[in-house]
């Protein structure tokens, strides 16, 4: 047996890469959040015991009565603390990798996880440029959201449990991006799903919230089916399932566009569609907003839901070899982007708008990785993590404040309904400014972060449409047009959100308005940091054309195409395949015009949408939710999210339930068991066994029967 003792120590003999660069305690980055989970989990169990005793006695336990209990002070330090340490350790490794000129991933194996026959899955992690970017986002944004949570969740009785789940989530997310093989990624993949389930249903006494968690888990499992099947198929082809083993040989093993590779990538696509809430499995994400708002920011915007994008980029060489699958990825992406944007137009719940906005932006990322712009996909993933986390946290601060106001004015209004808000800029100036910056970023306005990442995706879609040997060129042209249109819708619904929330007249009423307040320090500092990143974060990857133009300040923006170069070792193989089969990409958009021209057009157009919307909506008097009329016509359809949930209920959920009942009541009870009982009754007519149990002396009989059996056995034998 391999001595593996401390997991930090590397086990000898397992396959490790011989890279020049030595990472610093990479295993500890994963272990720290797990440690946090263990501590917070223990505290949570202790606290829950107390609170349960109180509930039985018919009251709520007051954790805050005479100062806070240790169960509610320690998580403040442990929860964000382990994240800070993990983040610092990640930065150390990132800096190390920056100077290392690494071409091969660094692999560290700790123990043999599953070894049987010719299958050998090591518990191994892989550090390369891609996992590094993801780790920076997860631990960095994760840390900020942990800090924000301290302010947001501090007065919740479930505070330690909250941090236990949050730490556990970070642990699984790191396993997802650091695993060196698909099965290890799958541990993280389902693990984050579990945490998502637990956190959506965090306030589990509320049936609606608990159901939302359940829905998320079940819908995600549909995707997981695809993940498993993809692993099986890859194993069938390669007899191994680690990245190093598969990607190295993929180009020689698979026929370009062949059925096997297409099937593998479509299976992976199913997984990605589930996790990243793309059509037709997007239905769980809007419901997932039932969780605490920082959870929405961390899990359902910045990190977990982008796992599908990560999966495609991680498998970029496989997708590059399957042009059909790639086209489907892009198609699902752009349709989702458009569809979700239309729904976002008419939502009144601030978190629902952001939820559909997230689905829409994830669609953009899918479009990016679908057209082979893997770097652009990751780029948008990163900038989106900044501005969407910011928007959610800002929304959290707003909801917090409104709840306070409604509480004091004794109104049982919905604290998340934007019709009940308005005019908050006077009360929450920092949140207001931060959220406007994020809005400009997501709307794709120069020089905010979202402009560069979104523009690159749209541009690459156009370039793909005009590629030399592009398959489905016409299709890509359609994608390009839809993407542009969606970008304009984004600018509209975000401006609407800002105007309804922060501008115009305050609608909470005078008694309530007195209690509106800016967020506390633990909450606004993370907002400020994310706002900074939303402004400048896009400058790490300005394409050459833009950089040399007025949009790049003629080279004034730093770090041109940095991310592109950084990820090159990971995407190299995929780009090689694309070049070989697609030829050169177009240098003009389908309607003509270069990248700079379209960059200018889109930023001007988005800005125009923002200004016009702000002006038109700013003048309109918004009725509060209880007084508002029911939407009609198209508005009604959009408000009801195109009735997709209703469709699934009618055509999937109900039939499955009905069938289940029929199987039980008819097939199992009547048919199968009926036949059995028929035989059984015949046997019972003999009455032999039946009478045994009807003597009333069963116990005695049991004893003698047993004894008898033993005596007979013994007599025969000895």
């Amino acid at each position: 047996m391999r001595p593996f003792g401390l997991l930090l120590l590397q086990a000898p003999g397992l396959e490790d890469s011989q890279a020049a660069w030595e990472p610093v305690l990479p295993g500890l980055i994963i272990l720290l959040p797990l440690l946090g989970f263990a501590i917070n989990g223990a505290l949570a169990l202790a606290a829950a015991r107390k609170s349960a005793d109180a509930v039985r006695a018919g009251r709520e336990f007051d954790f805050f009565g005479n100062g806070r209990a240790v169960t509610h002070t320690l998580p403040t330090w442990v929860g964000p603390g382990v994240l800070l340490l993990a983040f610092l350790l990640t930065v150390v490794n990132f800096v190390g990798m920056l100077g290392a000129e690494l071409h091969e991933p660094v692999i560290r194996s700790y123990w043999s996880w599953i070894t049987t026959g010719d299958l050998n899955i090591a518990a191994a992690i892989q550090l390369d440029q891609l996992s590094m970017v993801m780790m920076m986002i997860i631990t960095g944004v994760g840390f900020l959201i942990h800090v924000f949570s301290v302010g947001y969740m501090q007065n919740d009785p479930g505070y330690p449990r909250y941090f236990a789940y949050l730490n556990l989530f970070i642990f699984f997310m790191l396993v997802l991006v650091m695993g060196a093989s698909y099965p290890i990624m799958f541990i993280g993949w389902e693990g984050v799903g579990l945490c998502s389930y637990l956190l959506i249903g965090f306030w589990f006494s509320d049936e609606e919230k608990a159901s939302a968690g359940k829905k998320a888990f079940i819908v995600n499992r549909i995707g997981d089916l695809g993940f498993l099947l993809a692993i099986f198929l890859l194993y069938l082809v390669f007899q191994r399932v680690d990245y190093a083993g598969i990607f190295g040989d993929a180009e020689s093993v698979f026929v370009y566009g062949g059925p096997v590779i297409t099937t593998v990538t479509l299976f992976f696509l199913l997984a990605a569609v589930g996790k990243s809430a793309q059509i037709p499995l997007h239905i769980w994400l809007p419901d997932a907003m039932a969780g605490p708002t920082p959870v929405s920011a961390l899990i359902h915007a910045a990190t977990m839901v982008t796992a599908g994008v990560y999966l495609v980029v991680r498998s970029s060489v496989l997708f590059a070899l399957a042009p059909l699958s790639s086209a489907v990825v892009a198609g699902i992406g752009v349709l989702t982007a458009l569809f979700a944007a239309t729904v976002a137009l008419r939502q009144q719940d601030i978190k629902k708008v952001l939820a559909y906005s997230t689905v829409s932006q994830l669609g953009f990322m899918f479009l990016g990785v679908g057209v082979g712009a893997y770097t652009a996909g990751i780029f948008h993933l990163m900038t989106h993590a900044f501005f969407k986390a910011l928007l959610f946290l800002g929304a959290g601060a707003v909801i917090h404040s409104i709840q306070h106001a409604l509480h004091h004015s004794n109104k049982d209004w919905d604290a998340q309904d934007m019709r009940n808000m308005g005019g908050l800029r006077a009360y929450m100036p920092i949140t207001w400014i931060a959220m406007w910056l994020a809005t400009l970023a997501i709307a794709g306005i120069w020089p905010f972060a979202g402009f560069f990442s979104k523009d690159e995706i749209i541009w690459m879609t156009g370039a793909m449409a005009g590629a030399e040997n592009a398959p489905y060129a016409g299709l890509y042209t359609v994608y390009w047009v839809l993407a542009l249109a969606t970008a304009m819708l984004t600018a509209f619904y975000m401006t609407r959100l800002m105007v309804m929330t922060f501008h115009g007249r305050n609608r909470t009423g005078a008694t309530g308005a007195e209690h509106l307040h800016e967020a506390p320090k633990t909450m606004w500092i993370p907002l400020a940091i994310l706002a900074t990143l939303s402004v400048f974060g896009g400058w790490i990857n300005v394409t050459t054309d833009l950089r040399e133009s007025v949009l790049g300040g003629f080279g004034a923006l730093p770090m041109g195409e940095w991310l592109h170069h950084w990820l090159e070792p990971v995407t190299e193989a995929a780009h090689r395949v694309q070049e070989a089969h697609l030829g050169e990409l177009a240098h003009a958009a389908p309607l003509g015009g270069g990248e700079v021209a379209w960059g200018l057009i889109s930023t001007v157009a988005a800005l125009a949408v923002v200004l016009v919307t702000a002006r038109l909506l700013g003048r309109k008097e918004v009725p509060v939710a209880v007084e508002d009329a029911e939407p009609t016509g198209l508005s009604r359809i959009l408000f009801n999210k195109w009735y997709v949930d209703e469709f699934y209920h009618r055509w999937v959920v109900d039939p499955v339930l009905t069938t289940s009942r029929v199987l039980w009541r008819i097939v199992d009870t009547r048919i199968i068991d009926g036949a059995v009982n028929l035989v059984g009754n015949a046997a019972r007519a003999i009455g032999w066994l039946g009478s045994l149990l009807q003597t009333g002396q069963v116990n005695t009989y049991a004893f003698f029967f047993t004894l008898g059996v033993l005596v007979i056995l013994a007599m025969i034998g000895f």
Binding site: W113, G117, K214, I218, F232, T706
Partner: protein
């Protein structure tokens, strides 16, 4: 240290005879001491059995180790012969691990006739350990039947309202199956005598008998039916939900954790190596895979609409055992290893689920899901333990439930991709049956006043659940030591399946001639 104690030579005997001694001890002792005595005996047995982990050495190949044999019924060639290989090793450990926990879990549940109950629990342990460690077919059959008796009474005496019906159903169903097997056993024995002139029930001897493909097919059928009922495989499963619903908690625990495994163990131990030509026949493989997949999906769907939590878990057992069946009939290393791991994992996780449902029942005297709600608020530890166990049961990666299912499905997909895809859809349905139940019982509002009174886990209950949960996670994180111990034996079974060739007529004749000559010479 183990070898210094000559551990190998006595351990298997001890594991069978100690619980039997315990049975008599419990019967002889005072009523109120019965449970503690039973617990002590079963703990001693478990502690002793732990050494098997080291005593069994996979480096020596996949054959039987720790063997010992004493003549029992010399005229028939029956031996009291015991031994272990990598497959039975874990079944024995699972039995000795589960029994003390089930006994400890009975402390509050069993109120009447305690002496008889705990004596039967120990007697049951004798039976199951015997089943898994016998290497003589006659002895195996005796133990196989022996397990029926205590379980019949456990259900019939300490069960719920319809206990008599359930007990009789259980007894008739399984007795019917095993009678057919008995006919099969006698036939093999007779063929051995006729063809090879050996009068023996030893596995090693019986494996030498050149059975024709037709004979193998018939015998396969007889054995398969006996085991299929035990597993149970769709459509022979309807005794199980009744038995579980009526059985007292400890009965359900042992039934799910160990007794069902006797069926799938029989598949691996007998169907594959004894009748390889039938086992690898395409029609047989198709039939078994089909029934397995139906079991997985059908049972999951039926489970999802059960109003009774215990019945729900009973149906999930059928689904899980479906995984085992397709894993075995994938007829490759991954599938078989996976099937064995599912058996181990299911034993622990479903055992734990039955214990947990028993704990709920002790508190609320109902198992109807709709009667609960919001239990997580008043019994958070119970809820935590339940959620973790439920997640293991639905195969969350990093737990024992995943590794088994993953290997099983991988193995099936390797040889039968279509079946693999269908079976893998089981992971969706697992979430579909398990999570709504978890939600309705532990989450949602705490509305009913009775539910407000539900106590959290007692110290005794923590002691029962903690080792089970720990084991489920340890196996999930590091299953390789188990897989490594099972692999040589699994390889041996598979080699036998694929190496077997139908005996030619000439071979059978020559064997017969040799036998005749030998007999003549002796005479």
């Amino acid at each position: 240290m183990l070898s210094a104690l000559a551990y190998e030579s006595w351990i298997l005997h001890a594991l069978i005879w100690l619980p039997l001694l315990g049975t008599f001890h419990v019967l002889w002792a005072a009523e109120d001491r019965a449970k503690w005595l039973a617990l002590r005996w079963s703990l001693v047995v478990f502690v002793l059995s732990v050494g098997l982990w080291w005593a069994y050495d996979p480096a020596l190949g996949g054959g039987y180790q720790l063997t010992s044999s004493l003549p029992w019924i010399a005229v028939w060639g029956v031996n009291y012969a015991l031994g272990l290989d990598g497959i039975s090793l874990f079944m024995v450990l699972l039995s000795t691990f589960t029994t003390p926990l089930a006994i400890l879990g009975s402390f509050n549940y069993i109120k009447k006739r305690q002496k008889a109950f705990y004596a039967l629990m120990l007697l049951l342990e004798v039976g199951v350990v015997g089943v898994f460690s016998a290497v003589d077919l006659f002895l195996f059959y005796v133990f196989f039947e022996l397990t029926l008796v205590p379980m019949y009474f456990i259900i019939g005496i300490w069960g719920g309202e319809r206990r008599v019906y359930a007990a009789i159903k259980f007894f008739l169903y399984t007795a019917f199956g095993s009678l057919l097997m008995l006919v099969g056993i006698l036939y093999i024995y007779a063929r051995g005598k006729a063809l090879l002139g050996v009068t023996s029930f030893a596995f090693v001897d019986l494996l030498q008998i050149p059975l024709t493909p037709q004979e193998q097919m018939w015998l396969f059928g007889a054995f398969a039916l006996a085991f299929a009922i035990k597993v149970p495989i769709f459509p022979f499963h309807t005794w199980l939900p009744d038995a579980h619903v009526e059985a007292p908690t400890p009965g359900s625990v042992v039934l799910a954790a160990v007794l069902l495994k006797m069926g799938t163990y029989g598949f691996v131990r007998f169907l594959l190596p004894f009748f390889p030509l039938a086992a690898r026949h395409p029609n047989v493989v198709t039939l078994m895979l089909t029934l397995g997949v139906i079991g997985i999906i059908y049972a999951a769907w039926v489970a999802a609409v059960q109003p009774d939590a215990k019945k729900l878990v009973a149906y999930t057992s059928v689904a899980h055992m479906g995984f085992v069946v397709i894993g075995i009939f994938a007829l490759n290393v991954n599938g078989l290893q996976g099937g064995l791991l599912v058996m181990i994992s299911h034993g622990i996780s479903t055992g734990a689920l039955f214990l947990l449902i028993g704990m709920l029942y002790e508190r609320r005297h109902t198992r109807l899901i709709k009667e609960f709600g919001g239990i997580g608020r008043v019994a958070p530890w119970l809820a935590t333990a339940f959620v973790i166990t439920a997640l293991v049961s639905i195969g969350l990666p990093g737990t024992s439930g995943f590794v088994g299912e993953f290997l099983t499905l991988l193995g099936v997909f390797e040889n039968h991709p279509g079946v693999g895809i269908l079976a893998t859809s089981g992971v969706i349905f697992a979430a579909y049956y398990m999570l709504p139940m978890v939600q309705s019982v532990f989450f949602n509002a705490l509305e009913k006043p009775e539910n407000r009174e539900v106590r959290d886990l007692s110290r005794r209950e923590v002691v029962i659940l903690a080792p089970m949960i720990a084991l489920m996670i340890v196996i999930g994180v590091h299953p390789t030591p188990l897989l490594r111990r099972m692999e040589p034996s699994v390889q041996m079974v598979l080699e036998r399946v694929y190496a077997a060739a139908p005996p030619s007529a000439a071979l059978i004749e020559s064997v017969q001639e040799e036998t005749v000559e030998t007999v003549e010479r002796v005479e």
